[in-house]
């Protein structure tokens, strides 16, 4: 049982790659934290520094109250699940699971009890006598989890553990790992590049890019209040629609003008920003963001509450939902997500109604969010 604190953690690989830069994070005991970001952003490096598999160039890592910077992996009481599973090929599943206990000098009877108990929990008892090469991907995955669990570690580190599984199995395992976390009451740090995994599994999500943390928040807050265009675009599928616009003001209030000739007007009533913030934006160009699920296909809408005169360019029927690629006058192209199977036909004329309160506004230069939790503004 232990929380983890990372202070100003930096990693520069030999050769000069600055893989992680000023990483600052506090993880509570028993928390499930997901590190997510595009491939190469430094997620594995962070995890491996916590594990002790990679030297720390700068900063401090504490597990519990212990500074672990110069501790060997085996002294840290962490367990790691690798993307490749890394099962010892010449040992049976039983021996794979018992290995760490044996290395720690746990007595044979105790070892046996713990391996069997864990195997029972993961429903892999019938695999105990097998060698890894006689296991399917899903079974290997369970064994890898089991090998980590038998040790009763303080912290579980999981590096893209599901990315070698097919989609169906991945969804099952996602739920199962979350369940395990509840049962084991241990700290989990989970690395993935898959935003669905991040959203469905984490108590908190840490979004990284190019070695930096961009945002740390609960899945819902990340989704509702992304701090910048990168986070906004990374979380959510299909991804958020972005369009440039100018904030203007007339007798009706403050609105955003979109399209090459400003042919669309969105009234900014109800957006997640204070009146002062909005007033301050008048006359400036901004990036506007709208999630596909926050627009609806309609025919005709209230003035200032949507886009008119478009047509459905592509219609992707996914069964329960449909993605519509709508082309609009002024060179705008939005993806809209509708429930139901084929609410619109390809080529059909359409208008789009917008849930204005879900509109995101970003600084056009820095990409930082202007909208956010009202009160604190963007965090």
């Amino acid at each position: 049982m232990a929380g983890i604190t990372l202070k100003e953690v930096t990693k520069i690989y030999p050769g000069g790659v600055r893989a992680v830069d000023g990483f600052e994070l506090e993880i509570a005991d028993r928390e499930f934290v997901v590190l997510v970001g595009p491939s190469g952003c430094g997620k594995s490096t962070v995890l491996r520094m916590i594990a002790g598999l990679e030297d720390i160039t700068g900063g401090q890592i504490h597990i519990g109250d212990t500074l672990v910077n110069s501790m060997a992996p085996k002294e840290r009481n962490i367990a790691m699940v690798f993307q490749s599973y890394a099962l010892y090929p010449h040992m049976t599943v039983y021996k794979n699971m018992a290995f760490a206990l044996k290395m720690r000098g746990v007595k044979k009877a105790e070892r046996d009890a713990r391996v069997r108990e864990t195997a029972e929990m993961l429903d892999i008892t019938r695999l105990l006598a097998r060698k890894p090469r006689a296991l399917s991907g899903g079974e290997s995955q369970r064994v890898a989890l089991g090998r980590a669990m038998v040790r009763h570690p303080d912290v579980f580190l999981l590096d893209e553990p599901l990315s070698n599984l097919d989609a169906k199995l991945r969804a099952d395992m996602r739920a199962e790992i979350v369940k395990l976390h509840k049962k084991l009451e241990t700290t989990f740090i989970y690395v993935t590049h898959d935003q669905t995994e991040a959203m469905t599994m984490g108590d908190r999500i840490v979004i990284m890019n190019a070695g930096h943390i961009l945002q740390v928040d609960s899945p819902k807050d990340i989704y509702d209040y992304p701090v910048d265009t990168f986070v906004a675009g990374f979380i959510g599928s299909p991804r958020m629609n972005f369009a440039e616009g100018v904030i203007e003001k007339d007798v009706g209030g403050i609105f955003a003008a979109l399209g090459s000739n400003g042919e669309h007007r969105l009234a900014l009533e109800g957006v997640n920003a204070t009146a002062e913030t909005l007033t301050g934006l008048v006359g400036r160009r901004v990036t506007l963001g709208l999630r596909p699920e926050h627009m609806r296909v309609v025919s005709g809408h209230a003035p200032g509450a949507g886009f008119s005169g478009g047509f459905a360019d592509i219609v992707e029927v996914l069964g329960a939902e449909t993605n519509i690629y709508a082309d609009l006058p002024g060179g705008l192209r939005f993806i809209v997500r509708e429930w139901g199977d084929e609410p619109v036909r390809r080529g059909q004329a359409l208008d789009l109604a917008v849930q204005t309160e879900k509109l995101h506004i970003f600084d056009i230069e820095t990409g930082a969010a202007v909208t956010g939790r009202i009160g604190g503004g963007a965090r």
């Binding site: 060997a72 962490i78 367990a79 993307q83 490749s84 890394a86 090929p89 010449h90 040790r151």
Partner: protein
């Protein structure tokens, strides 16, 4: 059906050149040797059973040569395998000047045997470098190649010549071990010693087998160096099976020669067979 036959003929055609070579230079002489070993002489061709073998076993020169060869291989081969593995593991770690080190150990491969021998002669001859150094320290000179040290000197020569290549083979094998496995063992709390024996050793086993067999064969071939260093009749410690065969060949005693060669081939086959069995056990389940 016809196509299959055609394919067969073609593949046999491709095989033919090397098959012919192997037949003419290895299989045919080997059969001839078996025949020689079982007759009294190649002209009268009377079958004599194992008489030639008994003659060889009772021959003092053969016994000495066999004992020397066995002793040389028993010392030189394990050393060549263990030291090259050690070197490879050292070079795997991040040490400065790694590539120069590697070149140093590989350089003997590029030097022809005759030149190697020349270098060693310069070092160990009665009037050589080592003796002049000793002389300057006031120690009386030793005729190294004619002393009991000669055996050690040849082992050193053998190691110097073979370590580099073995090392490269081991380095390739080490870099092929999945890194995650070593890391998993590390996280699981295995010491460096355990990580080596429990994980790396398993993955190295095919290479260990190959390097051991290679070194064994090379240890038999060390005759060339000894011959160039000391001629037909070296110090009695260095009188190896090939000296025996060479000299027997010189005396045109084909029967004795063939019997000795067969004994040697049999011993080699047994040793290599045992090595293969051992590797099959150690390396089971660990193929990539």
């Amino acid at each position: 059906m016809k196509r299959r036959i055609k394919e067969r003929i073609f593949s046999f055609g491709y095989l033919l050149p090397s098959l012919a070579g192997v037949t003419v230079f290895f299989i045919a002489p080997f059969i001839q040797i078996i025949r020689y070993a079982l007759v009294d002489n190649p002209v009268s061709n009377n079958f004599v059973g194992f008489e030639n073998f008994i003659r060889v076993f009772n021959n003092n020169a053969f016994r000495r040569a066999a004992a020397n060869t066995a002793r040389f291989s028993a010392i030189a081969v394990p050393l060549a395998v263990a030291l090259s593995l050690l070197l490879a593991m050292m070079l795997e770690a991040k040490i400065p000047g790694k590539s120069k080190f590697r070149t140093f150990f590989l350089s003997p491969m590029m030097v022809p045997v005759a030149s190697i021998v020349l270098i060693w002669q310069v070092l160990f001859d009665y009037n050589g470098a080592l003796n002049s150094v000793l002389a300057s320290l006031g120690i009386s000179p030793v005729d190294w190649m004619k002393s009991d040290y000669s055996h050690v000197i040849v082992v050193l020569l053998f190691l110097w010549k073979n370590l580099g290549y073995n090392m490269i083979l081991f380095m390739a094998a080490l870099s092929n071990i999945p890194k995650a496995l070593i890391e998993a063992a590390n996280v699981d709390g295995a010491s460096a010693f355990r990580r080596f024996w429990q994980i790396k050793f398993r993955f190295l086993s095919p290479t260990l087998l190959f390097v051991t067999i290679l070194s064994l064969i090379n240890s038999f071939k060390v005759f060339r160096e000894i011959y160039l260093l000391t001629g037909n009749y070296p110090h009695e410690n260095l009188y190896l099976l090939q000296h025996f065969m060479n000299n027997t060949f010189g005396n045109i005693d084909y029967q004795k020669l063939s019997a000795a060669a067969l004994i040697m081939a049999l011993v080699m086959a047994i040793i290599i067979g045992i090595l293969f069995l051992a590797e099959g056990r150690i390396g089971r389940d660990v193929e990539q």
